[in-house]
C-alpha cells in the first residue's frame, strides 16, 4: 500500500508540473481510524498528502460532476466504472481527465471490524500479505483482510480500472466464478409477506439524512425528487411509507447505472444495506440485457437503447 501511495504522489507531482492537470483528486489520511478524506491537490507540497490504503471506499467519481478543470483522478475499479458512466452521461469529458488507475484489493468494512472488536478501535495497520491488525482499548486482534472487506468488494468482478491513462501497479487477479447475487436470490425466494417484513425491518432505522444518495456518483440531479416541492412527490416526515418510497425510487433511478461500488451502504450512519435494491436491478439488467454498467465508454446503457430482441415477456 505504501508503494501505491508513493507512486500516486509521484504521478500527481509529475502531472501538476507538466500542466497535464490543474488538480489531482485523491485521498488524504483521515483523522480517525478507518477513514480517509477525499481531497484535491494543486501543488507539489499538497501532493505529499495523497495516500492509498484499504480505507478509500468513497467513490471519487462523485467529485467530478460538471467540473470544468483539467483533472487527474485516482480511481480503483468501481470508481473507473462510474467515471465511464459520467462520460457516457455527459457529466464530464474524457479529454478533461487523466485517470490514475489503482488495482484494488478490496476496501475494509468499518462495521465488520467494529462488530468484532471489543472496546474502541484506536489504530489499524495492514501488512502486505493481507493481515489486518486492530489495536483497541482492550488489546490487539488480527484479522484476515478477506474476512473484513465490504460485501460488495467480496463479490467484485472488476477490481482493476476499466479506463485509465496510467496504472500505479500491475493489475490484480480478478475474481472468477463468484456468485454475485446470492443475497438477491435469497430475497426473491421469500413470500410476498416475508419480503414486506424484510424491508420494514431493513428501513426502520433510516433517518433520511440522504447520505446514501449523496455518496452515490449516480445521484447528481440538481433537485432530487424527494426535495422537489412543485409538485411535492413525497412527505418529509419519518412516516415509514415515505421512507420506503424514497429508497425504492432512488433504486429505480440507478437501474442499469449502478456499479455496486458500495458507497451508499458505506456512508449510511445507521448501517442499512440499501444495496440489496440496486443489486436486484443489476441482476435483472444482467439477466435480461446482458448489461453491466460502466464497462465501456463506447456502449450505450441498456435502458437507453431499443433492440429487437429485448425481452418482452412482461407484456401481455
Amino acid at each position: 500500500m505504501i508503494t501505491y501511495s508513493n507512486k500516486i504522489k509521484e504521478i500527481a507531482k509529475r502531472l501538476l508540473k507538466e500542466c497535464r492537470a490543474e488538480m489531482v483528486i485523491g485521498f488524504r489520511k483521515g483523522s480517525i481510524p478507518m477513514m480517509n478524506e477525499p481531497c484535491f491537490v494543486r501543488t507539489d507540497e499538497q501532493a505529499d498528502d495523497l495516500v492509498w490504503d484499504s480505507h478509500c471506499g468513497i467513490n471519487l467519481a462523485n467529485y467530478l460532476t460538471s467540473r470544468d478543470e483539467k483533472i487527474a483522478i485516482v480511481a480503483k475499479g468501481c470508481d473507473s466504472r462510474n467515471i465511464v458512466n459520467h462520460i457516457v452521461e455527459n457529466k464530464i469529458n474524457r479529454e478533461q481527465l487523466y485517470i490514475i488507475g489503482v488495482p484494488c484489493q478490496g476496501m475494509v468494512d468499518k462495521r465488520k471490524i467494529l462488530a468484532q472488536t471489543e472496546g474502541e478501535v484506536l489504530q489499524i495497520t495492514e501488512t502486505e500479505n493481507g493481515q489486518i491488525t486492530v489495536k483497541s482499548a482492550n488489546g490487539e486482534k488480527t484479522f484476515s483482510k478477506s474476512d473484513v472487506i465490504q460485501q460488495n468488494c467480496s463479490v467484485c468482478i472488476q477490481p482493476n480500472p476499466v479506463l485509465y491513462d496510467e496504472m500505479v501497479a500491475d493489475p490484480v487477479q480478478g475474481q472468477t466464478d463468484i456468485d454475485q447475487f446470492a443475497d438477491v436470490r435469497a430475497l426473491e425466494a421469500m413470500s410476498t409477506e416475508e419480503k414486506r417484513a424484510y424491508f420494514d425491518e431493513l428501513l426502520a432505522p433510516c433517518i433520511r439524512c440522504y447520505a446514501c444518495r449523496n455518496a452515490c456518483p449516480l445521484c447528481y440531479c440538481p433537485t432530487c425528487f424527494v426535495d422537489e416541492s412543485k409538485p411535492q412527490w413525497l412527505g418529509k416526515s419519518q412516516d415509514i411509507m415515505d421512507i420506503k418510497t424514497f429508497h425504492f425510487l432512488r433504486a429505480y433511478h440507478c437501474a442499469g447505472r449502478c456499479t455496486d461500488c458500495g458507497a451508499c451502504e458505506r456512508a449510511c450512519p445507521v448501517g442499512i444495506n440499501m444495496r440489496i435494491l440496486t443489486k436486484k436491478l443489476n441482476k435483472d439488467c444482467l439477466d435480461l440485457y446482458d448489461w453491466q454498467a460502466g464497462m465501456s465508454i463506447d456502449k450505450r446503457p441498456a435502458l437507453d437503447v431499443y433492440q429487437t430482441n429485448d425481452p418482452e415477456k412482461f407484456i401481455k
Binding site: E193, S237, K244, L277, I315
Partner: protein, 56 residues
C-alpha cells in the same frame, strides 16, 4: 419495473403491461377483465398506501 416491485413485496398480479392498438377493442376488454379478476382475487391493496402520516 415489475421485478423490483415484486421484490419489495407488491403482489405480481397487481401490475400488468400490455400493448393494445386503438383498433383492438376486443383485446382491450379482454385484458381489462382479466386484470380486474386478478386484482379482485387479491383484494384491496393495504400495503404501500400512504395513510395519514404517523409520527411522534
Amino acid at each position: 419495473m415489475k421485478n423490483l416491485l415484486e421484490l419489495m413485496g407488491v403482489e405480481p398480479d397487481r401490475i400488468h403491461f400490455s400493448w393494445i392498438s386503438s383498433a383492438e377493442s376486443t383485446k382491450f376488454v379482454q385484458v381489462v377483465n382479466e386484470i380486474a379478476e386478478k386484482v379482485k382475487a387479491l383484494g384491496p391493496n393495504r400495503h404501500f398506501v400512504k395513510q395519514e402520516a404517523k409520527v411522534a
